[in-house]
């Protein structure tokens, strides 16, 4: 535990995130230009997609991969239900905002995933390459679940967002730029395989961690600024933004060990369940559920859950996975 914490806090990736948080809290004018932040997020999606695709091309698709995929997709549909219930009762949010926030917590954060992989690899427990496929598969289901919850399944809704047909909604969800790029790069990686990717690996692999440092610097800046500006966040929502990742992380990890994943992969499934989206889902919500308040869902996922996961929860989940793997060998 303690060692893990040390490891976490000597990782440059985490240190740059902390630098971003501190700089924003000190009201520095440090800022990454918007087009660069966007380009870094696209780069990270492409690089992760390719890496996963090449890994799956090498390993093939076997029983483990299929059961991990099924577990991930299942969690993507079920976790928003639990989150919705908590948000509506304890959190006192209305239906639309509960559904929107639930979608974020059911879906995944690519950067949290990557940070977890970094940290687990540092502990010689690198998760299977197929976990990228699991992650990609977990992006969309929660968006659909959250939208149904927000709109009331079956009910005809007269609100502005509701005038959109389900077909349009599905189109917008599945053509969302992050999802297209992640899946597209994954398929490209599978088609090309390791040989084809050797020439581009200096760009997509060697540069990856450095870009991640600067991206996390920016996320630290944005998360802290958003927290300082936030008006819609109550203490109840803060509690939920810590409670959900803890519970979802434990559930996901146990599920992973339960379907016999190695401890690194199980921890990664836990992290995926614990993480809340702040790239793909907000973009989809802005289109499909514009009445929901970004001041709530972005502040919870980006300003509270994300730092909590990166700084603390990944360490907890990793320790829990190691413990479970020891108990049930």
């Amino acid at each position: 535990m303690f060692e893990t914490a040390i490891q976490t806090f000597s990782s440059p990736v985490v240190l740059f995130f902390v630098l971003g948080l501190l700089a924003a809290f000190a009201r520095s004018d440090l800022a990454i230009p918007e087009p660069i932040a966007k380009a870094m997020s696209l780069y990270l999606m492409a690089a992760i997609g390719i890496k996963g695709g090449v890994a799956v091309a090498k390993s093939g698709i076997d029983g483990t991969v299929l059961s991990a995929l099924a577990a991930g997709i299942g969690a993507g549909f079920v976790l928003p239900l639990f989150a919705y219930a908590v948000l509506k009762t304890f959190g006192k949010l209305d239906r639309i905002n509960s559904g929107a926030v639930a979608a974020h917590y059911g879906s995944i954060s690519v950067v949290t995933f990557v940070t977890a992989v970094e940290i687990l690899t540092g502990q010689s427990r690198e998760p299977g390459g197929y976990m990228v496929a699991v992650m990609a598969a977990m992006e969309a289901p929660a968006i659909l679940a959250g939208l149904m919850l927000a709109r009331g399944v079956g009910s005809k809704d007269a609100s502005v967002g509701g005038t959109q047909s389900t077909g349009e909604m599905m189109h917008e969800v599945f053509t969302n730029s992050s999802i297209v790029l992640l899946l597209g790069a994954f398929v490209i990686g599978m088609i090309g395989g390791a040989d084809a990717f050797e020439p581009v690996s200096p760009f997509f692999e060697a540069g990856f961690k450095g870009v991640l440092c600067l991206f996390l610097l920016d996320m630290g800046l944005i998360a802290a600024r958003r927290m300082m500006d936030s008006r819609s966040i109550t203490w109840r929502l803060v509690v939920i933004a810590i409670f959900l990742p803890v519970v979802n992380g434990l559930v996901g990890t146990a599920l992973g060990i339960g379907i016999s994943l190695d401890s690194g992969s199980a921890a990664t499934l836990g992290v995926l369940c614990a993480s809340a989206s702040y790239i793909a889902v907000p973009a989809a919500m802005r289109l499909a559920l514009p009445e929901a308040d970004p001041g709530i869902y972005l502040t919870m996922s980006l300003s509270i859950t994300f730092p909590f996961n990166v700084l603390i929860n990944i360490g907890l989940i990793s320790a829990f996975a190691a413990y479970l793997a020891g108990v049930m060998p």
Binding site: K38, S41, V160, R231, I279, P290, G295
Partner: protein, 102 residues
């Protein structure tokens, strides 16, 4: 001296993600064109926002120049979005050259 005619210039501040709804309304009002101007941050009753293209919180100004009747029709069509989606609309008279274009 060159001849000018009077038209309405309408400016709508909208979420970039929802820009398509505004331009669709412009086309429904049979206005010939529109132009998008970027904006980078702002503050209103709902607090402060900044352009964060990674999370999709960007906004834009949609500008369009049209004859008064079409302008009012557009304002009418956009009115519900102003309330529900937090858009802002302002308009004023401008002189244009070659008014048949608008």
């Amino acid at each position: 001296m060159i001849e000018t005619v009077t038209r309405k210039r309408i400016e709508i501040l909208a979420d970039k993600a929802l820009q398509g709804r505004v331009t669709k309304a412009i086309e429904n009002a049979q206005i010939t064109g529109w132009t998008i101007v970027p904006v980078t941050s702002g503050k209103g009753r709902e607090g402060h926002w900044r352009e964060e293209s990674v999370m999709g919180t960007d906004k834009v100004f949609v500008l369009t120049i049209a004859a008064e009747d079409k302008a009012m029709a557009l304002a009418e069509e956009l009115a519900p979005m102003l309330t529900n989606l937090g858009f802002i609309l302002s308009m004023w008279d401008v002189q244009v050259i070659r008014g048949e274009r608008f």
